[in-house]
């Protein structure tokens, strides 16, 4: 299943910060159908875009060893919305990380203008939920997310 709400990374500093962009297109059902006669990138999908940007930052910081899942949206405020033709940028900063969890702060930009803030808490599933029947492989970081990072690294010659 494809559920990818960022198009490419534009910045990636391991363990520190990452930026990714999402181009808003009318071709996407979610943009077209969310609000009648007012195509926009639904704000929940902007939260998801930030969660993916920040989640990959968090996962990569520990070698993608753990299943990193979004546990809490501490704050999500938006002053503007993304319209078809816009480019949304998510910039996430890693505030803290340890065996059980990570926290990130993030800003959302629309064509370079700051339009929102999204602060998140992620859980490391393997560590904290020993009574769950988890699959052996990492089910969060599959090819889709890993390829995003790989393409970026190839592009910047990393």
């Amino acid at each position: 299943m494809r559920w990818i709400w960022i198009d490419t990374f534009t910045e990636f500093e391991s363990g520190k910060r990452a930026s990714a962009v999402k181009n808003v297109t009318l071709a996407e059902e979610h943009v077209h159908d969310y609000a009648p006669a007012s195509p926009m990138l639904p704000p929940p999908l902007m939260i998801e875009g930030m969660a993916q940007t920040a989640g990959i930052l968090v996962g990569e910081a520990r070698g993608f060893r753990e299943n990193v899942i979004l546990a809490k949206v501490r704050r999500a405020t938006f002053e503007e919305y993304g319209r078809p033709g816009d480019q949304i940028t998510y910039t996430a900063v890693l505030d803290s990380i340890d065996d059980t969890a990570a926290t990130t702060r993030g800003e959302v930009f629309r064509n370079g203008d700051r339009i929102g803030t999204v602060d998140l808490i992620f859980s490391h599933l393997n560590q904290s939920a020993s009574d769950l029947d988890l699959p052996e492989h990492n089910f969060v970081f599959g090819d889709t997310f890993l390829d995003l990072l790989r393409s970026y690294r190839i592009a910047v010659g990393d």
């Binding site: 809490k72 501490r74 059980t100 808490i121």
Partner: protein, 130 residues
Amino acid sequence: MPTTREDVFKQVEEVLVDALGVDEDEVSEDATLTGDLGAESIDFLDIVFRLEKKFSIKIPRGELFPDDIVNNPDYVENGKFTPAGMTRLKTAMPHADFSDFEADADVAKMPELFTVRTLINYIENKLQAA
């Protein structure tokens, strides 16, 4: 400038308003985090992070909210804390008030120990020790 209990209360109140989305007037010393203020398990983590930032302290995992006692068969039997369990609990949580809890020692009622007062006591102990 020493921090008074009133100062600590005000800052703990701010943390809980931000973390739990409650109003200031809902935050009294007696209020329980889960029962009265609607906190869920992930909120406890958020509260710890915010307290660390607000008071510039480090809160080691399990120090404010012990998480290794309930799963220990020496400490819990048939849903109640054993005498050893109660001793362990009291040692782990000098910041909590056990007077109402002791009689029952019911594990299911453990969240009632986590009141706003428990947080304030913990912070005061931490600041004094610093």
